[in-house]
Amino acid sequence: MDWFLANTGLVADLAVRHARLSVVPIVLGFLLALPPGVLAWRRRRARGPILAAFGLLYTIPSLALFVLIPPLVGISFLSELNVLIALTVYAVALMVRSVTDALEAVDPAVRSAATALGYSAWGRFWAVDLPLAGPVLLAGLRVVAVSTVSLVTVGVLIGTRSLGYLFTDGLQRGIVAEIVTGIVATLLLAVLFDVLLVALGRLLLPWTGRGATRAGRRVQLTAGGAG
């Protein structure tokens, strides 16, 4: 506690950097996961291969990604962009399956009612399928958010400053309080992201009741650990 009180400035600065590094992959990951997720939902035969391929991305060790990305996109190993791209890859890997599951969870009766009313295929997707997929999409996004916040710490290995810095610095200097502060702060940040997403869900999905939260928990339990 003493260590934390003496270093609040540092912790706050690292927390802000950490949050900023998390937001980009979460948002980009969500957007980039939509096209392959929708494709896997629409084309039943391609579903297995698409989901398997994106699932595999998540199994690439983060260090390997940090080494692979720079030559591929032509940036420096130590660039912050390197971390952002790697984390976006993980976010997409997690989110694609959620997108497919979310669309699959939409009641077929509602979908056929929308067709009978005279929605075009495209119009129905935006006005009916996607909004009704909202609760399961949100559940998937919460997993992605928590996973991303925890993965950002790995960036410290290539010199990107985040709360992860407290782990390495604390380890090197033998300050246990610093390491504990890093863990607690990362955890709190993950909780904050989760709370914000739930609030966003309440705002955007006002028609859902408790059902949505239940679906959210179920998906969170079935999504595996981080790489």
């Binding site: 009313l117 005279g118 075009s120």
Partner: protein, 269 residues
Amino acid sequence: MIEFRAVTKRFGDAEAVSSLDLVIPARRTTVLVGSSGSGKTTVLRMINRMVDPTSGTVEIDGTDVRERDPVRLRRGIGYVMQSAGLLPHRRVLDNVTTVLRLTKVPKAAARARGLELMDTVGLDRGLAERYPRELSGGQQQRVGVARALATDPNILLMDEPFGAVDPIVRTELQDELLRLQRELAKTIVFVTHDIDEAFRLGDSVVILAQGGRIAQQGTPAEILAAPASDFVASFIGADRGRRRLRVVEMDGRRLAVDADGRPAGVLEH
């Protein structure tokens, strides 16, 4: 008028409808009744091109529906389905005005029309801003009917619309539909598996056997008076004498009872 000419529909190897010829008169209620597998929903869905026939033609007022763009065709035909099929993420009024908004009716005009429609189907305007799940099954079904009537279509397709509500509410909704039909005189095609509902609502009743074959078509009175086959007789319950009522006297009142001696009603003196 809706006309089916030699319409066949196959799903894979299974023939859901085989060589159906059927004329559905305008401004009347025609009920398609049959058990599951009789192809009645398939027949209904071929009218608004939710299903296209494998062969044969479906015509509305002399025009082959295949010449019509399916999306536009559907916007011009009211459709009510089981469990109402409301959009759960839209408020009641937005559900009612869905098709109006799809056809670019300005928002204010659509809202005004939507509220009028809620009156028409007997829904309290106070429910306008609720979500469908906050309504009872009967109320949801009324929203479904209001939505189907929104663009004042000539044709109304109803696919077992009252199948998921309890018997008391069902009777209420049937009464309401009879009242609406007296006022609006739409061409209604109504699908059900309930023969009592068919006789109650239909000006004309079409009894479908397996594979969409017409077992008998006629007014309820014609069918009851002269079932065309054993199949029809058994379907309408005539063979069990269910519809043969007799009158008995009990406690000074005249009761109509069925063959099993169960009272079916009280006769007024």
